[in-house]
Subunit: 225 residues, 2 copies
Amino acid sequence: MNNVCKLCNIKSKAAAKLKDEEIERLSFNCTMVKFVKGDAIIKQGAFSTNVAYLRNGLAKIHITGPYHEQLVRIVKAPCYLGLPTTFGDKINQYSVTAVDTAEVCFIDISAFRYLLKSNTDFTHEIMMELCRTELEVFYRCANRTQKQMRGKIADVLLEFSDKIFNTKYFNMPLTQEEIGNLVDVTRESVSRVLTEFEKDGIIKIRGRNIEIKKRESLLMISTKG
Amino acid sequence: MNNVCKLCNIKSKAAAKLKDEEIERLSFNCTMVKFVKGDAIIKQGAFSTNVAYLRNGLAKIHITGPYHEQLVRIVKAPCYLGLPTTFGDKINQYSVTAVDTAEVCFIDISAFRYLLKSNTDFTHEIMMELCRTELEVFYRCANRTQKQMRGKIADVLLEFSDKIFNTKYFNMPLTQEEIGNLVDVTRESVSRVLTEFEKDGIIKIRGRNIEIKKRESLLMISTKG
DNA sequence: ACAATATTGTGATACACATCACATTTAGAT
DNA sequence: ATCTAAATGTGATGTGTATCACAATATTGT
């Protein structure tokens, strides 16, 4: 699979720092796999032997909590998946599942380690990524534990609209159960809050399609939780 | 301040990988500060110009949440403080405060970056640390959002007994308000649950001193939360 | 097109914990 | 030793959301 990584136009910021020779090495130790919605990309409990890079699509990071599944966060391409669990442990400590069709590059962990050793700019970018995501998790956790359910559900809608799809109309790829697992609310409550938001004219729902009609209201609900 | 780092017997695992020349460089860019209970070691909102290494003592990582302060976790020496916020952002995204007397080494960030570039074994250890702590935060968050208050308070007691002090008798350095901020429970509820645990003979409380009398009961409460 | 499964909606009720106000005790400063 | 501030304890009440059971709708597979 020569030149694929060199010609790839969705390289990570870290991979962009690699020299030709290193890119070539990457190409020989990299395989691209396509996934459909619901496919497991990384499995909690399995051995971690690859670094996964989401080239396009959406995925969800989820773990088994003390009582039920917790959705840690939604990840949007392009980005590395599972860096903490790939390096932090020999066994995957969480799962990553495709939320719709996705393309993932799997890089052999030894080759990745070699690159970490040989290119300090690459390593620096990877470390930056680890730092940023850990900070993000802190804030997410504070929000999840302190906000009330309307605020949390408003956050979900704002995240899909503003950060994932960049549009006020979008097709919600998550079920209400999954939304509930993302913000620690039961699917019945998710249903009720979404219906309430529609009744209040804040959003419009047509099946899975959602339109944000009053973004300021959502922002207010998000803030006041 | 020569030789101090070389002679230090509480080096981090990462620092243990450094060569003599690198250790010397560290010594010239490192200063040790003592803190008392309540002192701010890292301040949310301030510029991050140093890497902090907790040589001994206890500290708490805390952030300002949407409604009130959240205690992210208690850290026990020896370990780096604030790596994610030091590298992830120019401004500290969270605070670290001494929970009792503590000694902290502050390392100039440029010197630290130099070491990251020059010693890949050092960098590898730092990355391992980042990965492990991110995974830990995921699990903490799942526990905080899914467990009920008795389970969470049982967890705190077990953590202080099993991981921080390594003894069934210990002096609780946190107020009930702080315990509440660590597990998202009001101080009134913390008071009630601790009293209940004492009434049930699970723990014995004498002022700030706590004795774990029925560890298995706490484990069960933790699990059944 | 149809059947099976998954997802969502809804109403009634229960539960877990927060909130509030105030009293009491403990710790720290002088 | 005393005073002040912080921390803790307590009772009553309210609130937010979960739970449960079931019906209705949507999606998927054949």
